[in-house]
Symmetry: C2
Subunit: 200 residues, 2 copies
């Protein structure tokens, strides 16, 4: 009876490299406009020319990053070579509080960290129609060596084994249909009774 | 990786009298056409002129009804005065097996029976924007006495207390928006990982 919950949905989108997560997100963004917001990562690497703090990344010093990590300030974080990357919890909280949905496009390890860091994450796995199709997409890009393609396919097979940790699986055989499914998930999740009842 | 499950979704739609369940269903039916099927109840009452077995109802004798009930052949059933009403499990199974979604519009007691009879039911509660709004709709119909309206409002208040037993709550403040939410729930439910993984 109370008004349905105004808090946004935290949708974590993940899946193997080459499954078209970015393209699906671009279509969703195009359809939904300002009602969704993409999470911005923090990093300790140096800004590249043209990158703006708070737009491409939040640029933190290693000390700032470590201090925030100590305070449980990241939904997930990872070290890549000498640098740290993470999703600041505060940014995501502010987006959700404002009533916007927050989409976090992230690798599968990060997605499972988010699952443990908050109980309100909705995990969506974008799967390729088949490993053969994924091979053809990765080869078609022309940016990876044959060895690199094989390595990514090996990773993909391993990541697919974790898809039962996700709430939803979208097989991306058609970008428009995959985007429609993602939009349906956002709308349906807003109607979940646990969500509207916890907002009393 | 396997193709997403083709089995239809069993959506159980319930909520207090006067919340507009039937109208929302009509709009969904208009949008989705043949991909959804409405469940047909069995009854032991006599057919009225123009009613066809298998269209408005399945008309059973009391002996047939009792025999099917003994075989766990109903997803839910109830006695109303001298007659029995129920949802034949076999009809619903055949719809879902054919890949169509099956919508079951039913009173809240029946909805909770379906919840216990099968683990694949998705329960949706259609709620009025407020009890005041519900009173105004019931009065506006002009078909119920003041006493009857008060009785229905009392029932509605009791039924609202059970809405946390449902998976989803749709506040019907706008029929088109409520129908869109129901359609989003059908599409999202098809993507649930439990659904595609159990279909291997």
């Amino acid at each position: 009876m109370e008004q349905q919950k105004k808090r946004g949905v935290l949708l974590v989108l993940s899946g193997p490299s080459g499954t078209g997560k970015g393209t699906v997100c671009a279509v969703v963004r195009d359809h939904l406009g300002d009602s969704v917001c993409y999470s911005i990562s923090a990093t300790t690497r140096q800004p590249r020319p043209g990158e703006v703090h708070g737009r491409e990344y939040f640029f933190f010093s290693k000390e700032e990053f470590a201090a925030l990590r100590e305070q449980d300030g990241f939904l997930e974080w990872a070290q890549v070579y000498d640098n740290f990357y993470g999703t600041p919890r505060k940014f995501v909280e502010e987006v959700l509080d404002s009533g916007k949905d927050c989409i976090l496009e992230i690798d599968p390890q990060g997605a499972l960290q988010v699952r443990n860091a908050t109980d309100e994450a909705v995990l969506v796995f974008i799967a390729p129609p088949s490993l053969e199709e994924l091979r053809s997409r990765l080869t078609g890009r022309g940016t990876e060596s044959e060895e690199e393609v094989e390595k990514r396919l090996g990773c993909a097979a391993a990541e697919l084994a974790y898809r039962d940790k996700y709430d939803y699986i979208i097989v991306n055989d058609d970008v428009e249909k995959a985007a429609m499914k993602m939009e349906a998930i956002l709308l349906a999740e807003k109607c979940r009774s646990v969500r509207s009842l916890s907002d009393k």
